[in-house]
Symmetry: C2
Subunit: 147 residues, 2 copies
Amino acid sequence: MSDIPDLTAHTGYLLRMVSNAVSQKFARDVEGEGVTVAEWAMLRSLYGSDATTPSDLVRKMGMTKGAISKLADRLLDKGLIARTGSNRGQSLSLSPAGAQRVPILAALADQNDAAFFTVLSGEEHKQLRDLLHGLIKTHGLTTMPVD
Amino acid sequence: MSDIPDLTAHTGYLLRMVSNAVSQKFARDVEGEGVTVAEWAMLRSLYGSDATTPSDLVRKMGMTKGAISKLADRLLDKGLIARTGSNRGQSLSLSPAGAQRVPILAALADQNDAAFFTVLSGEEHKQLRDLLHGLIKTHGLTTMPVD
DNA sequence: TCCGTGAGGTTGACTAGGAAACTACCATTT
DNA sequence: AAATGGTAGTTTCCTAGTCAACCTCACGGA
């Protein structure tokens, strides 16, 4: 009577378990470079596209404008980005130091991903990616994960 | 020279995007029941196994003991759990009200999972679960996802 | 027996983010 | 020109975690 099904029956549960493992490992890695995952996400977003506004980042990163504002403050303190323009309609860009750091962090991201998923065969890896792409498409997901 | 590969090339990125979507939707759902995801996770852990200690939950849920302590406080305030025993070596259990709430929340979890993954064919769904189980096994993942 | 060690729990300081109030500026309308 | 509305950013308050310092007690050894 009224058994509560095993939680692990949920695909979302499995997904979260794996996803958390990947993310937490990556979080520790980038922390070693003195940067949080959210900070990395912002740096990455600024890379290659100069003149990005905070509100662009709000859309891309799916965070509130309050959070973006503070995040930018932190990166500014660390000297990794520059803020130009005044109160309204400003624009953010990587500082030289920031631009330098991005490839290093990107390499970490590559390594982290490879380390986790190379246990899959090429075929399996492709299957997984296809399935995820399918879910992303049918649910219309767009916001980049930040946490 | 030194192109930064597209982030979306990372399987971990895709995984996180999908996982976040599932989790955020579920978070909103349970919030409608006046409970956070972490609270739900604790309730669920207490269900069916009486006499669980906080340190058990630390292990199961992968949170620090500080967090578990405060989480238990909140559930206590809401009247969903009971705390017995003294300062050291206490044990936590569901209150009647808490035991009543679990099936409702479990139903939400079922619905949420179903809603997200039924766009997959039976075969695809099985593939996905098999792949995730494989990753969980080879990486020895055990901590239940809470966020 | 009594002491010390260390595990179980709590607490306080700190961090990152969300929500909403607030500020500043621009454009449009009158 | 003045008022008004809307968009961009900031700030304040709140929540939920971590971390580390701290209490309390059980138990093992001298």
